[in-house]
């Protein structure tokens, strides 16, 4: 059984390439600049692995060569079981060896004292891993997978085993390694030695844990304030979301379509924009504040800057999400249940209270938890409105970038935040799973939902209409704001802000003179690169979760989903802590932004993919398998064409998220790679509201355009159902003929 030989040969050749033709270590000028070709292969910086061993005293890399040579020798083994075992072991050892040597040997020799005392001091350290090292790591992962496949794991399907191994490897590197190094960093001194002082000091900091506001002495700690805000936001958005959902499904409200439009707003709105618009309305120089002060002489206050303002902004931002969740729940309550209740002589109010509402309970809890997590993770609104009353996510930011620069404080705060969000995530997953009362079944469920009781109907209208108008005003501000000279002081209309941001001049050639262009193009570039990657990783994961059975699958799925509950700020902090030093150095590059987007947005692609793939009968791919298509071909020829809507959704979502996200990005941007959102936040901090608003509304317009474009490009799933009627006619003619 030598059919595994070809792929093995390819991988072994790649291993040889990694050692001989690629620079082993990271190139400062960037790999794709190809400036390294000049010094290749002899100079220390760009030499490949073999030369590093021979000429530059990096003797430890010989371990990699040895393992690859052994793998080459194992290729000749006759017994597939033993060959598989050998390859799997060599692959696993290779990955382990590479990570150990990378972690153990830093810039200037051993990073761990234990290894120094064991092997003696090193004369020279090593820089971060480069193309050669990364390629050889991938080679080892593939060797490991091929070995397992030859032993019959996953029915001997090398593609599936490799996909699983690579995904696990990537998630380990880009999710768990950063989180782990953040924890490690919190108990380390600057020189890397163990020193828990900073950790203990921060853990006991009253600024985090003080309960002063309850006992009556001063302010509460930031942890409690954040928790309180998250609970209030969760409650507020759930109640409003429910009111909107009830109006949209159970009343004769005339503008239901308009309500549905609300649901796409949070997707295309950069997270701080609401806060910004609120500032323009209620800030000290805001329209309403100024108006009230002129009309009634009310002193312009600073009430907006603090938890109240953040709360309003968050409820505005997350109500549409709650609405989206709850509209499914409210529609999911089977009309026949309500009809059964009314025929038992319950009036509308009792039916609603005793039947409909209890059935919606799990959905309400779910909406609350989503609002809770979103509020915890929200960074943009607190940054704009927080003032001195920050929440955890902004405190983390200031602990890193502010004057105090205290990484262990940032790590401690990040841990606290992580504990909160993960608890909510776990609650959602274990406590709510299986408690879904949505009663839509395969049976055609006829009947109409009963109307709301009169009092309740008036109540929800009284909530929905003002809040809807408020939302409209806020979004109106975003559109209008860009055209107003200086808010509060000079309300005349102008195009100056747009000109400043997006001016173009034609000096023979096009010159992008506007201040926004630089970050705008970077954002587009990075979003366009990361969107397809996110979709690929997400859908591949979904395929594995839905279609493959293997031990540890639940752990695999859970670990992937968990990365969704990690707030962006935590990701940001952990990335700069993990990827700033060898063995992996990526800060300041576009790569770190792309990696961050791919692994942060992937869970949504996974969810969409799982939902779509569960609808495809498994026999569709089994039929292809029995016709001699391998699983890769089956995915390409059968599954992908049937998954087009899920692909669109994953592409659009990851693209849009890459444009609008701020929390993780703000840690990772550099002068060279600045993103639109962090640039806008910079504008806000400088008080340039007009340009900031103009840029934001431009982003919204671009996103709407791109979403429409994606939709047209990928198109719908073609099942040709629409041709059915047309197809009947010719068949009849054939029969008569």
């Amino acid at each position: 059984m030598r059919h595994g030989n070809r792929r093995l040969d390819v991988v072994l050749i790649l291993g040889a390439v990694a050692l001989t033709l690629l620079p082993w270590y990271r190139i400062d000028g960037g790999f794709y600049g190809f400036g390294w070709l000049a010094g290749f292969p002899l100079s220390t910086e760009v030499a490949p692995g073999l030369v590093q061993i021979a000429a530059h005293g990096r003797w430890w890399l010989a371990g990699v060569v040895l393992l690859l040579l052994l793998a080459g020798a194992a290729r000749g083994m006759a017994d597939p079981m033993r060959r598989g075992a050998a390859l799997a072991w060599l692959g696993a050892l290779g990955v382990l060896f590479l990570s150990l040597q990378g972690l153990a040997i830093g810039f200037s020799g051993w990073t761990w004292t234990i290894s120094e005392s064991l092997f003696g001091a090193l004369s020279d350290g090593q820089p971060s891993m480069g193309a050669g090292a990364v390629l050889s790591a991938v080679v080892f992962v593939l060797l490991f997978s091929f070995g397992l496949a030859e032993r019959g794991v996953m029915k001997g399907d090398a593609f599936v085993v490799s996909a699983i191994s690579l995904l696990v490897f990537l998630v380990a590197v880009f999710v768990f390694y950063p989180i782990g190094s953040m924890f490690a960093g919190s108990v380390q001194d600057f020189d890397g030695s163990f020193n828990p002082d900073g950790f203990i000091r921060n853990m006991q900091d009253p600024g985090i844990w003080s309960l002063g506001c309850v006992i009556g002495g001063g302010r509460c700690g930031v942890a409690w304030r954040t928790l309180w805000l998250a609970i209030m936001t969760g409650l507020g958005s759930t109640l409003l979301g429910l009111a909107f959902a009830l109006v949209a499904t159970r009343t004769r409200f005339p503008y239901k379509k308009g309500l549905r439009l609300l649901t796409i707003l949070p997707i295309i709105t950069p997270p701080f924009v609401i806060g910004l618009a609120l500032t323009l309305l209620f800030g000290r120089a805001g329209v309403i504040t100024q108006g009230l002060s002129e009309l009634f002489g009310i002193e312009p206050g600073r009430w907006l800057y603090g938890l109240t303002g953040i709360w309003i902004a968050q409820v505005l931002s997350f109500t549409p999400i709650a609405f989206l969740v709850l509209i499914g729940v409210v529609e999911g309550v089977s009309p026949s249940m309500e009809e059964a209740s009314t025929t038992l002589r319950a009036d509308r109010w009792r039916t609603f209270r005793r039947v409909s509402l209890p059935l919606m309970k799990p959905g309400l809890a779910n909406a609350f938890l989503i609002g809770f997590i979103e509020s915890m993770a929200d960074f943009g609104n607190p940054l704009v409105l927080g003032g001195s009353h920050g929440v955890l996510s902004t405190e983390i930011f200031f602990a890193v970038v502010g004057s105090q620069n205290d990484p262990s404080r940032a790590a401690v705060l990040a841990m606290v935040l992580l504990v909160f969000t993960l608890s909510a995530f776990l609650a959602q997953r274990f406590w709510l799973s299986g408690k879904n009362f949505a009663t839509v079944t395969g049976k055609g469920d006829s009947g109409a939902h009963i109307a709301l009781p009169r009092g309740l109907s008036i109540g929800v209208h009284a909530i929905v209409i003002p809040w809807g108008l408020f939302t409209l005003v806020v979004y109106g501000m975003i559109l209008v704001g860009g055209f107003v000279k200086t808010w509060g002081l000079d309300n005349s209309l102008t195009l100056d802000h747009y000109a400043k941001a997006f001016s173009i001049s034609f000096d023979g050639s096009i010159a992008w003179t506007g201040v926004a262009w630089n970050s705008f193009w970077t954002t587009m570039e990075i979003a366009l690169i990361s969107a397809p990657l996110t979709a690929i990783v997400g859908l591949l994961t979904a395929y594995i979760i839905v279609r493959q059975k293997f031990t540890g699958k639940n752990v695999f799925e859970f670990a992937l989903m968990m990365s969704f509950a990690i707030p962006g700020t935590v990701i940001g902090v952990s990335y700069i802590m993990a990827f700033n030093l060898p063995p992996l150095e990526m800060t300041g590059s576009a790569l770190i932004l792309i990696a961050c987007f791919v692994f942060r947005n992937m869970p949504v692609g996974v969810r969409g993919g799982i939902a779509a793939m569960s609808q495809l009968d498994k026999s569709l791919d089994e039929a292809s398998l029995t016709l001699r298509a391998g699983s890769f071909r089956t995915i390409r020829k059968v599954i992908l064409p049937l998954l087009r809507p899920a692909i669109t959704a994953a592409l659009v979502y990851s693209f849009v998220r890459a444009i609008t996200s701020i929390s993780a990005v703000i840690f990772l941007v550099s002068a060279e790679y600045n993103m639109a959102t962090s640039y806008i936040v910079g504008l806000v901090e400088n008080g340039e509201y007009g340009v900031a608003i103009a840029y934001s509304s431009m982003l919204i317009v671009v996103m709407i355009t791109v979403i429409t474009g994606f939709q047209l490009l990928v198109g719908d799933r073609r099942l040709r159902r629409e041709n059915r009627v047309a197809g009947l006619a010719p068949s009849r003619q054939e029969k008569t003929a």
Partner: protein, 373 residues
């Protein structure tokens, strides 16, 4: 295609859950039309999927000729794509995004068959199955029977040595089902393909198969020709599962008058210590006489009351009761009986199926009874 041999096959879905298939030995010969028959959940579909390579064995081995295609003990497994077997699914599994033609030539394209040859082959198969005129349609535009034939054509196009069918006729209406049965028989004759067919419908199995493997609770109950299965059921399960209306079974150990009579009658012919647990006779072997004098001397007999006469079109089911116990007889002659009439039921010794206390066919009882007759 060489023979397919399953030896001591075990399949379990995770520790703790009962085995889906246990101790299965099955030898499928080249050119055979074998039917796996059993109630739902008996492991027949799992067996088929293990043969196709869509499920791994937990233990045991499957060989195709001399080649081991799956053996956990030896760590050998050949994937479904390399086994050269065609599986037709219960749900057809036609790809909705491809036309009938593209569905059919999928396998040929994967094999990189030259275009001219490919088209010739597809046309040939489509013509044979009478779907050529739908070539450019999509699956959703075809009726169930047409889709069924496309699913068959897709597998036949690559000329697999073995055709595996998973209840392919269960979604069809009665007339189409009859047509497709004839079609399958014709394919089997024309292409000489080995066919393994899963069904829970005994008539389908009886009419199509050259041999039937009856399964229950993951175990093989009996392997034999359709006539074997019907005329010499190996145990009570097979006897009771095959045949409609079901076989009449009398347990010798109960105190019911009918059972006592049967027990006494058997003891007189087989001896007291024969170890008889139960005896069965098929409805068509149960005859009815209006007086005891009309009953042949050596037949088992008992008085009974006619409680119902159900015409089934050309034949009749007669329901009788003895002290509240129901018996069924079938006849192809129009019965002259009336409801409530007292009659004698009787059965020939050679029509008796005798089982021991464990429910297995009692070895030797057949011969003894035949000699007694």
């Amino acid at each position: 295609m060489p023979d397919i041999v399953l030896s001591n096959v075990q399949k379990s879905y995770g520790a703790g859950s009962p085995n889906a298939v246990s101790d299965l030995d099955l030898h499928i010969r080249d050119g055979e039309f074998m039917c796996l028959l059993g109630p739902s959940g008996c492991g027949k579909t799992t067996t088929l999927r293990m043969i196709a390579g869509l499920e791994n064995l937990t233990d045991g081995e499957i060989r195709v000729g001399e080649k081991i295609v799956d053996s956990p003990a030896r760590g050998a497994f050949i994937g479904p794509e390399k086994r050269g077997m065609g599986l037709v699914f219960q749900s057809y599994a036609l790809w909705p995004h491809l036309t009938i033609e593209r569905n059919t030539d999928f396998g040929l394209r994967l094999r990189k068959v030259p275009k001219a040859e490919r088209e010739a082959r597809v046309t040939e198969v489509m013509k044979a199955l009478d779907i050529e005129k739908y070539r450019h349609r999509y699956p959703s535009q075809l009726s169930g029977g047409q889709q069924q034939r496309v699913a068959l054509a897709r597998m036949l196009a690559v000329n697999p040595g073995v055709l595996l069918l998973d209840e392919p006729l269960s979604n069809l209406d009665a007339r189409l089902r009859l047509e497709m049965r004839a079609e399958l028989k014709r394919i089997h004759a024309a292409f000489g393909t080995t066919i393994v067919f899963v069904t829970h419908d005994q008539w389908e199995a009886m009419t199509l198969a050259t041999s039937i493997a009856v399964m229950n609770e993951g175990r093989l109950q009996q392997l034999g020709t359709p006539n074997d299965i019907y005329d010499r059921p190996a145990n009570r399960f097979v006897a009771e599962f095959v045949g409609s209306p079901p076989i009449n079974i009398l347990e010798t150990a109960t105190g019911h008058a009918l059972d006592r009579a049967a027990s006494h009658w058997l003891a007189g012919r087989l001896g007291e210590s024969a170890g008889v647990g139960s005896v069965g006779f098929r409805p068509e072997a149960l005859q009815i006489a209006r007086s005891e004098a009309a009953v042949p001397g050596d037949s088992f007999r008992h008085a009974a009351e006619v409680t119902g006469i159900l015409p089934t079109g050309g034949s009749w089911i007669i329901e009788l009761k003895v002290d509240g116990r129901a018996l069924f007889a079938t006849t192809t002659e129009c019965p002259v009986l009336k409801g409530g009439e007292r009659v004698f039921v009787h059965a020939r010794p050679t029509a008796m199926h005798v089982f021991d206390a464990a429910g297995l066919r009692l070895a030797g009882a057949d011969d003894t009874l035949a000699r007694a007759a």
